[in-house]
């Protein structure tokens, strides 16, 4: 069959695989983006901020905010800076550390590829470790 010589065919194969992967993944991206947009639109930042100013609650509030906002890691520092004066250091740190690792979009995309248990670890481990360390910082280091 005259589909072409080896190189053209391989290039074509690479492209179709990329295309198939795109279609596989884009659904999770679309659902995740819609969820994140809904959260951003209907959950005012002030409610989350009002939720906590204590050493523990502030960390929880900022981690929820990081998850809800789903903004990219290159700019979350800018956003975090606007909370510096009103929030504890540990909670700002938790926002910066937890946000890039876990957000709505990536959690859904993980679910599409890995087994459920793996995804659970991928979310729970960063959650638990970030929370422990930043709360420790809040309670024990007077930054």
């Amino acid at each position: 069959m005259a589909v072409g010589n080896g190189r053209v065919q391989r290039l074509w194969q690479a492209m179709t695989i990329a295309g198939d992967d795109f279609i596989d993944m884009v659904r999770y991206l679309i659902i995740g983006s819609m969820l994140a947009a809904t959260m951003q639109t209907f959950v005012p930042q002030s409610t989350l901020i009002a939720f906590g100013s204590g050493p523990v609650t502030s960390v929880i509030a900022m981690m929820v905010l990081a998850f809800v906002l789903s903004i990219c890691s290159t700019v979350d520092a800018f956003l975090a800076l606007s909370f510096v004066n009103t929030f504890t250091t540990g909670s700002i740190l938790s926002f910066l550390v937890f946000g890039p690792m876990v957000d709505i979009k990536s959690a859904l995309m993980f679910l599409g590829v890995f087994r459920r248990r793996v995804v659970l670890y991928l979310i729970l481990l960063p959650l638990a470790l970030t929370m422990l360390i930043t709360i420790f910082i809040n309670l024990n280091l007077g930054w």
């Binding site: 069959m1 589909v3 074509w12 492209m15 179709t16 990329a18 295309g19 198939d20 795109f22 279609i23 596989d24 884009v26 659904r27 679309i30 659902i31 819609m34 994140a36 947009a37 951003q40 639109t41 959950v43 005012p44 930042q45 002030s46 906002l69 789903s70 903004i71 990219c72 290159t74 700019v75 979350d76 520092a77 800018f78 956003l79 800076l81 606007s82 510096v84 004066n85």
Partner: protein
């Protein structure tokens, strides 16, 4: 059938992105530095859709005409159908295009402000402090050409904000008001965007203007007046004493970029 819809959706998505890029409404959603990447995406998606279609047609023609080279045939046939998409998957894939066509593109406005903290000077310096070297040069020397971000930035960097008192200012932004403002005050606001609208942060200048009653919230205005430094919560912020407030068109680039 599903394959054909998938191909059409891919091509439609490519064309949709391209049209958003060409008519400039893409900048309502993402930073212009992604324009080249968006162009590449649009080309790639269209090529992929067309490629699938060609491959499908070939495989079909092959199935009809060829019985001698069975191995080759089966291989190709199997590949075309190996990644069958579900109807739900197709529906999701169609969402960006369908929503994009149904919902008129619109930049963030005053309604999005209610969910965020507005910035009147405290945070701009912090953000700008991490800007690359030489960004100081980007501050417009001519007072009349400074935008809202320039003014806030200038006030943050300055050791003596009062020295700007009386300088003429001319800025464009949308009208924002809430309970904190008196009848003779409003805020002329813009959103700054670093990456995409998900990280959009509102900034604004407080404007003193006796006729705020005639202004509609969220409408775009052109404010001309003089700058006056005022102390607010312990920090010096610029207040614009307006000489004129004129309605204007939404700028083609509604956001400001740091």
């Amino acid at each position: 059938m599903k394959q054909t819809i998938k191909n059409i959706l891919l091509i439609a998505l490519g064309i949709f992105l391209l049209s958003r890029l060409l008519n400039g409404t893409l900048s309502f959603y993402i930073h212009p530095r992604f324009n080249v990447l968006t162009l590449l995406t649009a080309v790639g998606l269209t090529a992929l859709g067309l490629g699938y279609a060609i491959q499908q047609r070939r495989a079909a023609a092959h199935a009809h005409a060829n019985t001698s080279n069975d191995h080759d045939h089966e291989h190709e046939h199997a590949h075309v159908h190996s990644h069958d998409v579900s109807w739900a998957g197709l529906f999701l894939l169609s969402l960006p295009v369908v929503l994009g066509l149904l919902v008129e593109p619109r930049p963030l406005g005053a309604s999005a402000l209610q969910n965020r903290e507005i910035n009147i000077g405290t945070d701009v310096s912090l953000t700008s402090a991490s800007a690359p070297e030489g960004s100081e040069l980007s501050i417009v020397a001519n007072a009349g050409e400074r935008n809202i971000l320039d003014w806030l930035y200038l006030f943050q960097r300055s050791t003596d904000p009062a020295s700007f008192n009386g300088e003429e200012a001319h800025v464009i932004g949308f009208v924002y008001r809430d309970d904190r403002f008196t009848d003779a005050q409003f805020m002329v606001s813009r959103f700054t965007v670093s990456c995409c609208v998900a990280d959009a942060a509102p900034i604004g200048l407080i404007v003193e203007w006796p006729d705020t009653a005639v202004l509609t919230a969220d409408s775009w205005v052109e404010v001309t007046g003089t700058i006056q430094a005022r102390t607010f919560n312990g920090i010096e912020i610029p207040v614009l004493i307006a000489d004129s407030v004129l309605p204007t068109e939404t700028p083609s680039q509604p956001y400001l970029y740091q």
